[in-house]
Subunit: 177 residues, 4 copies
């Protein structure tokens, strides 16, 4: 059966967005791309710095509250519905809960044919890229590098530490049915 | 019954985005905001300048192809699914087909309680704001100012020509059940 | 003598940037535009939240430290040098020190022919636009609306409270020699 | 004598901006960063697609006209004036004319103590990163990869093909007097 959805998980500054843009370029069919960043952009500004919404501490720690989780679940359902309606959908996410976050997705996916992708990057390298991009709180990359993969099961894994985004995208694209 | 979705229609540079941000600020519950701009951002880059996707001519004319329409319908279904799953959702759209675009939405909405909002702005004023924002092809604002409202039926209409975004948002918020 | 530089002063969210883009569009010659925002973008990221650099409090108060002032003076000299070298230059600034900031500029301008422009906007209206743009700390617009004009002398003043950016730009352009 | 200015030259998508942000982070003193991108942002919008200004062809070719060159020279003088006034300044540029562009800078620099930096990246790798960033016309990276270095003399060269931005920045910082 044809792949209907690609779910990409990786820590902050691991290179997910670049891989997604390359995937959209190399896959022959048009794929829509959504992710945790576009979800956060959709939230009210006041939720981006609140206990109920999203909090980012000075050392790059991230915690999310009840409102965030509730809205995110509804957003996940909607993204799944787009794939079910025939749009090919790529999602890039940060599984803050590791395996538990994967299970949140799995409960909503039903019979959808999903390709699970892990994007790894050594913490020290991701931390350097966090400085180079200049728009993230320092510390987020290092703290998320390992924990987001904890217990998660993938169909394909790539590592951006020494491999370019485009090469990673080609490895992933080769697994798209 | 409580309003589950707010669909806002208006031409380019009519002030929709500012109204949406004000609505998110004045409404007591958290509302997620999506729109034609976030949909276009989700498309592959190559579709943003293609016959099958989205084409913007040098004078600001916009035409969309078969792939665009197909993906957009799936995206609309997904956004509706988010509202059905309990997220309060604001959508800002440009009804290039006027009443026909409203009917595309209505076919997907089912029993959802939707507030339809028209955002008007005199063409000459919108054209001036298009110059002031500096990131749009000139001509788009003027060409869309009237046509997007053709035959569309609203619950509430606001006009940004002489009314600030925040005041418009308050008028709309007063109609949210 | 021909105007060589246009210095525009106004509080946060008073509409300076929109006026600058309209000025660049309506003036027949090409004018370069710089401002306090592009200066802040040029600083190291770590100076954007430090006692020595720039600090923005939760209520929108702004304070600048010794390093900021020193680098800013060098930046001002450079911008003046561009105008002296023949580039027509528009600067939009926020005179946090009112008349004292104008005097900082005047000491560097020498014989340059400068058009001084004040951009006013009622505090309550600017505060609403601050919510509508969504990328500024709330409170900045209201706190700066009056104080930046304190004791400053202008060649031309515009008020965006009820006048569009493009109309304001035309009023200013009419004074450009 | 202490380095007063760092001029970084490299083709599109070779990684200059990331290196600049890392340099600003690792250098103990505050350095201001300007570059061809901030210069282009300062130009009137209409010059970004005109024979007299800047033209980018569909295959990523770049040509600049008389107005562009004239304004750019004035801008270069201004940036040099900032360094002379005591600000430490990093400039990232694309030497479209190779050695001739370096000579344009040298004529303006006088006695300033400048560190010349070449940023290299294999054309094929830069072309892949151009796809990954998604905001550049494809072809620009490959066409500029070699030509911008033609005849240019450097104090230090780095190659981002297999070296991270932060490591490149450290190599450069070690040469800053």
């Amino acid at each position: 059966m044809a792949t209907q959805m690609i779910i990409i998980n990786g820590g902050s500054s691991s290179g997910k967005s670049g891989i997604v843009r390359c995937l959209q370029a190399v896959l022959p069919d048009p794929w829509l791309a959504f992710g945790v960043d576009s979800f956060v952009d959709a939230m009210p500004a006041r939720m981006r710095a609140s206990t109920e919404g999203l909090e980012i501490t000075a050392d790059g720690g991230v915690s999310v509250g009840a409102d965030f989780m509730e809205l995110q679940t509804a957003w996940m359902r909607g993204v799944v519905a787009m794939a079910r309606a025939g749009a090919r959908v790529i999602v890039d996410d940060v599984f803050l809960g590791g395996a538990a976050t994967q299970q949140r997705w799995q409960k909503l996916l039903g019979e959808l044919d999903v390709l699970w992708v892990g994007v790894r990057c050594e913490g020290a390298v991701a931390a350097g890229r966090e400085i180079a991009r200049g728009d993230r709180v320092q510390g987020m990359a290092a703290s998320q590098a390992e924990m987001v993969h904890d217990g998660v099961i993938y169909d394909v894994e790539v590592d951006t530490t020494r491999t370019e985004s485009l090469a990673c995208a080609r490895t992933i694209a080769a697994q798209v049915g």
